[in-house]
Each structure stands twice: as structure tokens, then as C-alpha cells.
């Protein structure tokens, strides 16, 4: 891999990280908010679902007309698409929290906000992580699609450029790099997940050997 290809790669990863970080924070935040506001949740859930199943790549042309070609367009797109799996999984995970645990924490005098951090978040963590993992895959796809459609840099641009100029060696190497990005990102995620949730898997394994 020579110099230019590395530059393409780093700009791609920049978009990916920025978009994914925004999606994660906003997704968990809004998910928690909707969990606490039942009426809002009831009122908006069909529309959240609509946005979740909307195939995100169709938004590329729309984002293009709104934000033009550039960093903002890609980050907004990635963040928007990656938001929904995290958001819905957060909401669903929090709804699954044992009511007894909530009551217990209230009886023990834990403040509402405190119980969110001490009880609800840990309890919902496995599912939130599942959402984050889904979001990561969506984010990678959107990263490539957005660069592909309209861009002057990035790995997606590199592949489509190579394909259109009949540089099939370049195209294949781009594809392989992409496959490696996908695999490595997934691997890193699994490692992080095992560290963060290792108490959960430990408890599960213990339960299994009973």
C-alpha cells in the first residue's frame, strides 16, 4: 500500500469514527430520554421504526443536495444511519429492566438519575452493545456508499475510480482493504465488548454451569 492509498484510508476512517461516535452518544442519549418519557415513546415509536427500516443509502442523494460534497455530508449521513440501531436497542434494553430492581433502588434511596446510571444502564448494557455493533456495520456501509456516490477522497472513491478506469488490480486491492477494515473493526469491537461486558458473560457462564 503506497502513500496515496494510505491517505484515502485515513480520511475514510476519520469520517467513520466521527459519524459513529456521534451516533453512539446521541443514540444512547435519546434512547434513555424516550425510555423515561412514556408518552413521547408511544407517540413516536412508529416513526422511529420507519426511519430504522428506511434503507439509509437512499438518503445519500438528499444529503448531497443539502450539505454538498464534503466532510459534513459524510459524517451527518453516517451518524444518521448508525443512530437507529443503537437508539432502538437502548430503548428496548431499558424497557427490559427488572421492575423489582428499580423498586429496590428507590427504596434504598437512590436518586432517579443515580438509578439510571447504577441500575438501568448496566442492566441494559448487553443490548446497547448489540445495538452499537449493528450501528458499526451500518456505519461502514454508509462510509463506503457516501464516498462512492460523491466524493473526492476515501476508500470508496478509490475503488470506484479504479473500476471506472479499468484498473482492476486497484479495484481488487481496494476491495480487500475494505474487507480487512470490516474484519478488523469487528474484531476490535468484540475485544472491547469482552472487556466491558465481561461481568455479564461471566455471570451467564456461571448460570449455565449450575
Amino acid at each position: 500500500v503506497t502513500g496515496p492509498a494510505r491517505a484515502e484510508l485515513s480520511s475514510s476512517l476519520e469520517h467513520l469514527l466521527a459519524g459513529y461516535a456521534i451516533a453512539s452518544v446521541v443514540g444512547i442519549g435519546i434512547g434513555a430520554l424516550l425510555w423515561s418519557l412514556r408518552y413521547l415513546r408511544d407517540a413516536t415509536s412508529p416513526y422511529l421504526y420507519f426511519l430504522y427500516v428506511l434503507p439509509a443509502p437512499v438518503l445519500v442523494p438528499a444529503a448531497l443536495t443539502l450539505f454538498g460534497i464534503g466532510f459534513t455530508m459524510k459524517v451527518v449521513l453516517i451518524a444518521f444511519a448508525a443512530l437507529w440501531p443503537t437508539l432502538l436497542n437502548t430503548l428496548d434494553g431499558m424497557r427490559g429492566v427488572d421492575q423489582v430492581k428499580l423498586d429496590t433502588s428507590r427504596v434504598l434511596g437512590v436518586s432517579p438519575l443515580g438509578s439510571v446510571f447504577r441500575v438501568v444502564l448496566p442492566a441494559a448494557a448487553p443490548q446497547i452493545v448489540a445495538g452499537l455493533r449493528n450501528s458499526l456495520q451500518v456505519a461502514i456501509i454508509l462510509m463506503v456508499v457516501s464516498e462512492w456516490e460523491a466524493s473526492t477522497d476515501g476508500i470508496g472513491y478509490y475503488i470506484v475510480n479504479a473500476q471506472q478506469s479499468f484498473d482492476y488490480v486497484g479495484m481488487w486491492s481496494g476491495i480487500i482493504v475494505l474487507a480487512i477494515i470490516g474484519t478488523v473493526a469487528n474484531l476490535l469491537f468484540v475485544i472491547a465488548e469482552n472487556r466491558v461486558l465481561h461481568w455479564h458473560y461471566g455471570a451467564r457462564a456461571a448460570e449455565g454451569t449450575r
Binding site: S45, P46, T65, R204
Partner: protein, 344 residues
């Protein structure tokens, strides 16, 4: 119950009206420039214009064609190969690493290859869809086949149920929830890939119309947004149809039964094992192999379709976001992972 639901529906309609009104209001007030983002009424008019002609339905038909063909091929291949791999421990351990690697490849990376091989054709579309659907689903099928409850497995052995009968009466019902989860994801993935193949690859369909409208300039933007809305509606309809079908096919399973007892403490699908109702024939007078009269049956009353659709309301959302990877672990290689399978 009715009171609460009408209340919620009212609330939802109000939110929809408010959102559409806000959209229209912002456009009218000039906050959103109409050459960048058309107003709600323009988009609705474009949608109506497309829907009243043959243009919209042709595009939807083409998209569905690629979706259905690809899904069919991918699912059939995954079911066959997944079952074969799952039933053989050696084969499973040999190939699972390769499958995991292929699964991690973003489908989008395969698109150029499809374009080079087939050009912007229907073949390209369904080949990509089938490829995208195959890898995640084949893993699900393997897990499902391997997740057979040891007690059920021993029971089948003792009763000497084997071959096709074992597959149909024991393995398939046991793997069904896993397969259903995989299918649910596959249905959504297939549509996304199909639309990407149209949007970028240029195969005809909804995605291609969006691209054409975008390239036609600001005057065609309402059409572009109309098709974006169509893509979303298509996603909702396909996912909804699948949920109904799943509920119908898997009504006997824990995950479906617990999803109906909706409440604050909704239970998550727990796989305590399938309810295997073993009926031994009375008396057992006929000579023959031991257990030749045993009937293995999994029985639950079937609710009518209307009731199912009525109950679709709440559980649709969670059911669609269960992540197959976290919900399911590779089974069998690690002792003890079998019990807590589907508990997220």
C-alpha cells in the same frame, strides 16, 4: 385496552400531523430553500403523480423482483448448507472461521465485482442480494441446528427417530427460532442491498429513480424525496409482513408467546428448551422397535390471523431489533453456554 390504544393512536396521528405541518411551515417561511429540500405538499404531489401513473409501480416491481429472487436463492442455499454444516461437528469447526470472515466483508465491497461481471442487470442485483443474505443466515442456521436441547436429542435417539423424520420433527422445529431471527435480518438486508445495487450499480428500480431524479436537478427533487419515502414504506411493509408470517409460523415458541404478554416487565425470549410433548401410544401392544409408536409433537393452539395482526402493534419494534450475534452464541463448543442462549 381499547381506550388506551385509541389514545395512543391519536397521539401518533398528532405527531405525524405536527411533523408534516412543521415541514410545510418551514418551507413556506423560507427556512428551508425549496431548491434544496422541497416542501411537504410538493413531495406529496410528486408522490401522487408517480403513483397514479405506472412509473412508481414499475420501479417498485423491479425492486421487489431483485429482492425476492436474491432472497430466495440466498435463503435456500443458506438453509441447505447451514443444515449440513451444523449437523457435523467437524465440518462446523472447519468452516466457521471462513464464514465469519466472509460475513464481516461489507457487501458494498462486492458491488464492483458484480458490476464488472454482470453490468447493471437484474442478475447483478439478485446475485448481490443472495450473497449478502447468505453469510449471516448460514451462521444462524448452523447455530440453530447445533442448539438442539440435549434432552430432546437423547429422547430422539432413545426413540430411534432418525433421517428425514428426525430432521422434520426435531431439528427443524428446534432451529426454527434461530432461522426466523436470521430471516428477519435477511429481509431487511436484502432490501438495503437491492437498493444500493440500484442506486450505485444502476440496476433499474426505486434506487435508480432516486439517482435519476437527483441528477435531473432541483425541479425533480420532489420526485426524489417521494421515492425516498417509498423506499421507507417498502421497508416497513416487508418487515411487517415478515413479522406476521413469523408469528404465524412460530406461534408455539416461547419468544412469540412471551411477546404477547406485553407489559412493563416483558420477558425476553428464553430458550428453556422447546416444549416437546411426547405421546406414547396407549398400551403399546404392537410388537416392533422400541418407541415405534412414540409421536413427537410440538403443539400449541393456533390463534386466528386477525388476532395476530391486532397484536402486532407493540412487539414489532423489539422483535425487529434483536441482534442475532449477541442473542446467539456458537453453541456446543463451550460447555454451559447452552442454557442461557437467547437471553440478551
Amino acid at each position: 385496552v381499547l381506550g388506551r390504544y385509541t389514545h395512543v393512536y391519536g397521539l401518533r396521528l398528532a405527531v405525524l400531523a405536527a411533523a408534516l405541518g412543521l415541514w410545510q411551515g418551514l418551507s413556506a417561511a423560507g427556512v428551508i430553500r425549496s431548491d434544496e429540500f422541497p416542501s411537504m405538499s410538493q413531495t406529496a404531489a410528486a408522490l401522487w403523480g408517480q403513483a397514479s401513473g405506472s412509473s412508481l409501480w414499475g420501479a417498485v416491481g423491479e425492486t421487489l423482483e431483485g429482492w425476492a429472487l436474491g432472497l430466495l436463492i440466498g435463503v435456500a442455499a443458506a438453509l441447505l448448507i447451514g443444515t449440513l454444516i451444523g449437523m457435523n461437528g467437524f465440518a462446523y469447526r472447519s468452516v466457521i472461521g471462513v464464514i465469519e470472515f466472509f460475513k464481516a466483508i461489507p457487501v458494498i465491497a462486492i458491488l464492483p465485482i458484480g458490476l464488472v461481471l454482470w453490468g447493471a442487470t437484474l442478475t447483478m442485483k439478485f446475485a448481490l442480494v443472495a450473497f449478502a443474505v447468505f453469510w449471516p443466515l448460514v451462521i444462524q442456521v448452523c447455530y440453530g441446528v447445533r442448539s438442539l436441547d440435549p434432552v430432546a436429542a437423547d429422547t430422539t435417539t432413545v426413540l430411534q427417530v432418525r433421517g428425514a423424520r428426525k430432521f422434520l420433527t426435531v431439528i427443524l422445529p428446534s432451529a426454527a427460532p434461530f432461522i426466523a431471527t436470521g430471516l428477519r435480518v435477511a429481509v431487511a438486508v436484502a432490501l438495503i442491498v437491492d437498493i444500493i445495487a440500484e442506486l450505485i450499480g444502476g440496476g433499474t428500480g426505486v434506487g435508480e429513480r432516486i439517482l435519476v431524479a437527483e441528477n435531473a436537478g432541483p425541479s425533480a427533487y420532489p420526485v426524489m424525496y417521494a421515492y425516498i419515502v417509498v423506499a421507507g414504506i417498502l421497508g416497513v411493509l416487508l418487515a411487517g409482513a415478515f413479522t406476521v408470517a413469523e408469528r404465524y409460523a412460530l406461534h408455539w415458541h416461547e419468544s412469540q408467546r412471551s411477546a404477547k404478554t406485553e407489559g412493563q416487565n416483558r420477558d425476553y425470549p428464553e430458550r428453556e428448551g422447546l416444549t416437546l410433548v411426547v405421546q406414547l401410544s396407549p398400551g403399546g401392544t404392537t410388537p416392533g422397535r422400541a418407541g415405534s409408536h412414540a409421536r413427537l409433537a410440538i403443539r400449541r393452539p393456533v390463534p386466528p390471523l386477525v388476532v395476530l395482526v391486532g397484536r402486532l402493534e407493540e412487539p414489532v419494534l423489539p422483535a425487529a431489533v434483536v441482534d442475532p450475534e449477541v442473542a446467539m452464541d456458537p453453541v456446543g463448543d463451550r460447555p454451559g453456554s447452552r442454557r442461557a442462549l437467547l437471553v440478551p
